[in-house]
């Protein structure tokens, strides 16, 4: 019987044909169009480069288009009641941003959990989105924040809300051979709003999450009802998960422990992550989803109390 397994060989060398450093977005997009799918966008590179070491056909890339030299793409600013991040904002920048720590702490916190300090210095928040993983430390908070991304190609720009962004594991609305995600925007968490981010890992640094849960709440003036909430979780499926029906349940809900517990049970019932040898069994992760949603809602509410003076 012939061998049907192709043993993966690891090498030290990566295969890249050409490396292009465009000076402007226009230059980058035109070049991508010219290359007709044979070039790929790279920003920080922390996902792409290790992937190129594996010696299978997918490993080879003709040309990399490095967008990190394009000016004016690493901004974090507030405009027209939205916070906007340029696509070259690194996780280090995001975790140190006073604006984010004040008005979108869950994103700053998420950015702080990614990889290691070295990784955070070069990996971009946009890149984390484009990698299309179901449990990105910044993508889950961005999903909870109802973020919208702007995608540019040589044909123009389009806006895609994150609810429509994730297609499958490793696949998003962005085609890195033609398109560049240029910015991310979302409404800040203002007065009356709070957020929480919880993470479960097997060790305290450089650990892929077993579960990440981001929650935002908005409460009424009396602070006895949740006006609206968002709950985002991963990895509980191939893409980040929004617990829509539970969010509906929480609209105008009275704040008490049984509401919170019911919400938590509800979310757990909606999740069916597969059994994973490395990330935990389905049953455990469902239980943890319950714990995280319960703790997360309470912590988000506490954050509201902290911001309302």
């Amino acid at each position: 019987m012939r061998s049907v397994f192709i043993p993966v060989q690891w090498g030290r060398d990566v295969e890249i044909g050409q490396y292009f450093l465009p000076g402007s977005l226009k230059e980058a997009l035109e070049f991508l169009a010219e290359q007709e799918g044979k070039a790929k966008v790279i920003a920080g590179g922390t996902d792409i480069i290790p992937g190129l070491r594996k010696k299978d056909k997918k490993g080879r890339v003709e040309t990399l288009v490095d967008i990190t030299r394009i000016p004016k793409l690493n901004f974090i600013r507030e405009e027209q009641n939205r916070i906007v991040l340029g696509c070259l904002v690194t996780h280090a920048m995001a975790s140190n941003s006073e604006l984010l720590m004040g008005k979108a702490a869950i994103l700053a916190d998420g950015a702080r959990s990614v990889g290691s300090p070295q990784i955070r210095n070069i990996a971009t928040v946009a890149g984390n989105l484009v990698s299309g993983q179901p449990a990105g430390d910044t993508s889950i908070p961005l999903v909870a924040l109802d973020a919208v991304v702007t995608i540019a190609s040589s044909e123009g720009y389009r806006e895609v809300p994150l609810t429509e962004f994730f297609v499958d594991i490793g696949q998003t609305a962005v085609d890195p051979r033609k398109e560049i995600l240029t910015q991310i925007s979302f409404r800040p968490l203002g007065p009356g709003c709070g957020g929480s981010l919880l993470r479960l890992g097997k060790r305290k640094a450089m650990a892929l999450p077993m579960l990440v849960c981001a929650i935002t709440v908005k409460v009424n003036r009396n602070r006895d009802r949740i006006l609206e909430a968002t709950i985002a979780l991963g990895p509980v499926g191939p893409t980040p998960f929004r617990a829509r029906s539970i969010e509906d349940f929480l609209k105008n809900a009275v704040i008490n422990s049984s509401t919170i517990a019911e919400a938590a049970e509800g979310v757990a019932a909606l999740c069916s992550p597969r059994d994973s040898l490395l990330r935990g069994s389905c049953e455990y992760r469902q239980e943890m989803a319950k714990v995280f949603v319960r703790r997360g809602i309470s912590q988000a509410l506490e954050q509201v109390r902290a911001t309302i003076s």
Binding site: I16, G44, G115, Q118, A205
Partner: protein, 164 residues
């Protein structure tokens, strides 16, 4: 395959050379430039042994195409020692505290510590731990490494005080 004309500053000196696009920074340093102080432990950014400073920021050189440092300043562990052989305070502290066993993670630890102490004068233990959280050590249990950074921080502070 198109070669790239790379020009950058390495340990204070200008370097120009022609590189293949596929050349990673760690391999450029170790093979082309014969600076083997930067180590390779995993080639996927998980161990931190390949840390170098680019414009003062620690990065994993195993993940960076060499082209990315065009126009930038790179510091490797070899660049810490002064021309006359006098060691950096952090290096001395690692020696005096016994913070080195097999030495493979030492470069990564020292450079991450330098980046920390350059931006933060007296970090507390939690800040030190977080700053070094991207370098794995299998030998020391980390305790003497943390102690060495504390010692270096104290000596640097006292040194600064003396100048004033």
């Amino acid at each position: 395959m198109k070669m790239f004309c790379l020009s950058f500053k390495l340990n204070g000196k200008s370097v120009q050379l022609s590189v293949q696009p596929a050349k990673l920074l760690v391999d450029l340093l170790r093979e082309d430039l014969r600076l083997t102080g930067t180590k390779i432990g995993c080639r996927e950014g998980e161990c931190g042994a390949c840390t170098v400073l680019v414009d003062g920021q620690p990065v994993n050189s195993c993940l960076i195409p060499a082209v990315k440092v065009h126009g930038r300043e790179v510091l490797t562990i070899e660049g810490l020692e002064r021309e006359d052989g006098v060691l950096d305070i952090i290096q001395e502290s690692f020696i005096s505290e016994g913070a080195i066993q097999c030495g493979f993670c030492t470069g990564g630890m020292i450079l991450n510590a330098k980046a920390l102490l350059d931006r933060r004068q007296e970090p507390d233990e939690s800040e030190i731990r977080h700053a070094l959280s991207g370098v794995l050590c299998r030998c020391t249990g980390y305790r003497k490494i943390i102690q060495a950074v504390k010692t270096a921080s104290r000596i640097r502070k006292e040194g600064r005080g003396n100048k004033g």
